[in-house]
Every structure is written in structure tokens, then in C-alpha cells.
Symmetry: C2
């Protein structure tokens, strides 16, 4: 890690998390919780293993992650965010909210993961009708699935499939995420390949966080 050598809290933050891949590694650790090197590598398509290894050492030295030996017979190392590392979440949210504007275009060689679908709904949408009864939205994009639960004004998400969802949104990532992020309306999402089954009225309840 090279330092900018500026007595400025933004520069200091970038001294620690400004190198290439670092913030995406923190993203993966936030979404996954304690995990193995292999899990991280799978969640970061395109990263060279030796670079991941270097970054993990830097993050440990800066106090953002801890590494712990998993109990036998697993015999593997688990990486986990420290409190300082978890405190990076608002930075990722601010970046992601700003980056939504670039999500209308999906590039042919973009990789995509269900985990990102899940954080997008939890971080970038709100429940516009907190007094309404709980509801379950099933998201499926590029064959990957996440469940969005609306309950008491909160938006919670998890990976996988719900037993009895109120609505299912299934389609290419940019149709599903474009709709969630307010980049496209329902008609346009359907044009992009979205299939909607169930209570369409729930889409009004899941509202994109206002752009800043």
C-alpha cells in the first residue's frame, strides 16, 4: 500500500482501501461473512490468486480483517472482517448507489452472481409501505436466485428460493436490477426479457433509494 502522504481523512481512507480490488474484497467479505480463500476467489472473477493473497495480507496488516484457523478436521483458514472492516459498508453503499447509473448497460463479458442481486435489493431499495403485511419477492437473474422479504418497513434479502413467494421476477440481470434500481420501468424491463408472475402491485412497494 502506497500512501498519498496527505493529512486528509479521505486520502487516509484511500491509503487503506484505495488499491485495485481492495473494496471488492471487502464487499465479498461483507456479503459472505467468514469465508475461505477459495470462496473469495470465486466471488471475485478476474482476480489473480497472488494479488488476492497480497491484498488479504495488506487488509490484515491494516486491521480490517482477521484470519483464523477453522476447527479440525476442516484445516482451512477463514477470513473475516473486523469492526473496522465492517465499518466500510457505508462507503460501498455510497459507491453502489452512485454506480447504479452505469447499470443500464450490461456488457457481453460481464460476470454476475446471486450475492450481488441480494445486496442490490437490501442496500438500494426501501419498503415504501411499512404498515402493509409481510411480502416475499423471488428474484431470479442469470439462473441465480435471491429472496427479498418486506416486513415492517424493512427490506431483508437472502440467497436461494422461497417456498411460496408473492411475486417472481425472472430475467436477465439488467432487467431485474434495472427495475429494482429504478433505471427502467416495468414495461421496459419486460422488453428486456423480464418475466413477472404474481402480485405486480408489490413492485410499487419496493422503491429504489433516492439517488443522491
Amino acid at each position: 500500500m502506497r500512501s498519498y502522504g496527505q493529512y486528509c481523512s479521505i486520502a487516509r481512507a484511500l491509503d487503506v482501501v484505495g488499491d485495485r480490488w481492495t473494496l471488492l474484497i471487502v464487499r465479498e467479505l461483507l456479503l459472505r461473512g467468514p469465508c475461505r480463500f477459495t470462496d473469495l476467489r470465486n466471488g471475485l472473477p478476474g482476480i489473480a490468486p497472488n494479488l488476492l493473497s497480497t491484498r488479504l495480507k495488506e487488509l490484515e496488516a491494516a486491521g480490517l480483517i482477521t484470519r483464523e484457523d477453522a476447527p479440525p478436521p476442516v484445516a482451512t483458514v477463514l477470513y473475516e472482517l473486523s469492526e473496522t472492516g465492517r465499518a466500510v459498508e457505508p462507503v460501498l453503499k455510497a459507491l453502489g448507489l452512485w454506480g447504479m447509473r452505469f447499470m443500464a448497460e450490461e456488457r457481453p463479458d460481464d460476470t454476475f452472481q446471486a450475492r450481488w442481486l441480494a445486496y442490490a435489493s437490501e442496500w438500494f431499495t426501501v419498503d415504501a409501505d411499512p404498515d402493509a403485511p409481510p411480502a416475499v419477492i423471488q428474484l431470479v437473474a442469470a439462473g441465480e436466485a435471491a429472496v427479498v422479504e418486506l416486513r415492517g418497513g424493512q427490506v431483508h434479502t437472502r440467497l436461494g428460493r422461497a417456498a411460496d413467494p408473492d411475486i417472481v421476477l425472472d430475467g436477465p440481470p439488467r432487467a431485474v436490477l434495472g427495475l429494482l434500481g429504478g433505471l427502467v420501468d416495468l414495461d421496459r424491463a419486460v422488453e428486456l426479457g423480464l418475466s413477472v408472475t404474481g402480485r405486480v402491485d408489490l413492485l410499487r412497494r419496493l422503491r429504489p433509494v433516492a439517488p443522491n
Copy 2:
């Protein structure tokens, strides 16, 4: 700009602002408004001119800045943030708030500028007593000066000196910023070299933004 090739809004944001120096260039443009290449270079100690030039071209291509010829006889180019560029501000705030934890230590070769003093007070403190009468705090650190005005619950700052401040805080950057950021208390700030003249009670009114 190399792309991470991930259909994730955080990765997309980092495709645009994740390269070395880019976010600090946006910081300078936010703090200065329209400015010349020379101004930017002065505000970014350590940057190589050819790298600054490359980054400005990338930022223009990505739609974050515009460049305009200043009217004659000035004959210079002015760089200015676009709406998309200004929308990066919450990212810088989140980074700076997180980075405050690394500000207790001031390194011997750190550079420092009055502009950073000004944004630190405006971004990272709140007026805890909105109903109190307006008050003016003069900050001086490393010989550079900024004025903090508390008025109607708002914290406004500007560079320079006030005619009749209610309190003057003067000392090394880590004493002034440490106190503003809640990293050190008044006693410790005085130990670090802070000199305080005037209404010390106003320090209770200027409250650090809660860490996230």
C-alpha cells in the same frame, strides 16, 4: 481505465473512480469549483503532471467533468464537475468519515491544506444546538485558516479569516482536526499543541458526526 467486468454497481463505480488519484481529483474539484490544471496540481501534492492529465481525460470521457476555455484574455482551460461528478460527494463523505480513525497519527511528511480543514468541519461535524444564536469559529492549522459558521443548525465553512470570531482554535492539524473529529478531547488537543482563545462552550455545540 480497466473494467472489473462485473455486473455489480459497486464494481461499475470503481471502474470509473477506482483508479489511483481519481477520487482525490474529484475531492479537489468539489472543494474548489471550476479550476485550472495548475490549481489541481497544487491541491494534489505528489501527483505526477502526466498522470493528472491522463486522469482528467478519463474523467471527461466518463462524463464526470467538463473542460471549458476561460474567456480571453485568460486563455486557460477550466475543469469543472458535471452533475454526475458532483454526485460522487456522498462517496467522499463516507470515505472521509471512515478514514477519520486514521487521523490520530500525523506523519512527518504529510502534506496539509486549509481546504481540507474546511471540508472536514463542513462534512464531519453537526451543529448540536440549532436554536442557539449564530456563532463563528476560526480554525488555524499549520498556518492555514478556515472559518466555521454555525447558523440555524447548519455548519458552513469557508477559507480565510473572520473579522470577529467567537473562538479561535490554532495548532497542528492533528490537534485541530482530532478535536473536530472527536478523536481527542480538549485536554489532549491542548497537549498536542492546540491554543484556544474565546468561547470554549462553542466546542460542545460543534459535534462530530456519529461514526457509522
